[in-house]
Structures are given as C-alpha cells and as structure tokens.
Subunit: 66 residues, 2 copies
C-alpha cells in the first residue's frame, strides 16, 4: 500500500511534528508512514483524510502485493 501523506503535508505546510500533534500520534509514526514502513489503522487513515479534506482512498492506494 502506498500513500501521499508527504505531499498532503507539504500542501498544508505542516511539519511531521505538527501533523503528529494534530492527529495524536508520535512524530516517528508519521515518519514511518511516509516511508511506507507500515500500514496504519483505519482510524488513523480517517483522521488524516479528515485533516486533509480528502477521502481515505485519495490518500491511500492498494498495490499488487496487498
């Protein structure tokens, strides 16, 4: 699964720390997410989508290996 969190974050001009604070996770979680190191929970995905005013599907996309 891939995501465009880094782009959304740039559009909204937020640091990883800013974003982490907004959705109540650690900065490392944001960093690891952007690096594609793991798959977040659906609650986290919904929170990110809400903050960015996008649907979850606009931010996250399934890949072949999923």
């Amino acid at each position: 699964m891939k995501n465009n969190i880094k782009v959304q974050r740039a559009i909204h001009n937020l640091t990883q720390q800013d974003l982490a604070d907004r959705i109540s996770v650690s900065r490392q979680t944001i960093n690891a997410l952007e690096a594609g190191k793991y798959v977040p929970s659906t609650v986290l995905a919904l929170k990110l989508a809400k903050l960015f005013d996008k649907t979850v599907n606009e931010i996250f996309e399934l890949e072949a290996e999923d």
Copy 2:
C-alpha cells in the same frame, strides 16, 4: 469508529465466511469487525471498500471517542 460491513455484506449476499475468503482474513476477523471489536488495518479497509465498490469513508466513520 463504526462501520456498515454487515449491511454491505447483506447487499452483496455474502456470508461472513464468503467475505473472509474474498479478502483473505479469518471469519472471526469479519465477525469481530462487524461487532465493532476492533479497528482494521487500512489495507483491510481498502480491500473491503474495493469489494463493495464503495470508498473507505462510505463504509467506516469516525466517532467522537476516536
């Protein structure tokens, strides 16, 4: 977080086992999801959405306590 998986499943006329097989999880995972016992991964949410031809946001919804 709440979801309407049970409704979608009814619309598509699938048993919990059918659905579990389609997205490669155990039947208990489907059962627990419908019962709101836990929050699925975003990959699982995307797979469900794809199967039901809906967006993740149409199936899952944040609640106050999230």
